[in-house]
Amino acid sequence: SVDPMTYEAQFFGFTPQTCMLRIYIAFQDYLFEVMQAVEQVILKKLDGIPECEISPVQIRKCTEKFLCFMKGRFDKLFGKMEQLFLQLILRIPPNILLPEDKSQEVLTYSAEEFQLLHKEIEQLQEKYKTELCTKQAFLAELEEQKIVQAKLKKTLTVFDELENAGRENGTSDFRESLVFLVQNSRKLQNIRENVEKEGK
């Protein structure tokens, strides 16, 4: 089973295996190129030797023999190096968390807890709206009360002014003055009746 090394890819931006493949192919290309250069130089040298019996085919066979050996050792050594690379260099140790995942360590909520949290937030939002509406209603009523109280106070003021008017006209207390008036008028009536009687 292939370990996709996704976490490493998240950190490096490439998969370690691809990186190793890239290095392997580059190294292998160099090995081939250098071998080709060696063969070219040898052939050129042989060209310079008169009546040389070594044919290019022979040299090619030598090259293939050496390359085959080198390639075998190359693959073996590279395999070891790749293993070490993937274990020691291009690996995120299991106990290490990448910076962007720091929050995973701090808090972990289950799906249910997360749902509950969302539900609580929605309830709080509704409650907050309700409280705000309540506040508006209270403020509106306080405004109304101000108006009503002003009207009622105005009415009371009217009564006070009436009383004051009475008082200003010598009648301190309107009710007493009326009683006094009634008594006076009854007295007047009695006097009148007496006067009429005596007159007869």
Partner: protein, 32 residues
């Protein structure tokens, strides 16, 4: 396969932050 791995890893690296930015905007907008 390799491309898929790199693609997923890139998303895992970048998307939480992007989503977080959106969520923070939403929370702010709701608050306003």
């Amino acid at each position: 396969f390799d491309e898929i791995i790199v693609d997923i890893a890139t998303k895992r690296k970048q998307y939480p932050r992007k989503i977080l930015e959106c969520v923070i905007k939403i929370i702010k907008a709701k608050r306003e």
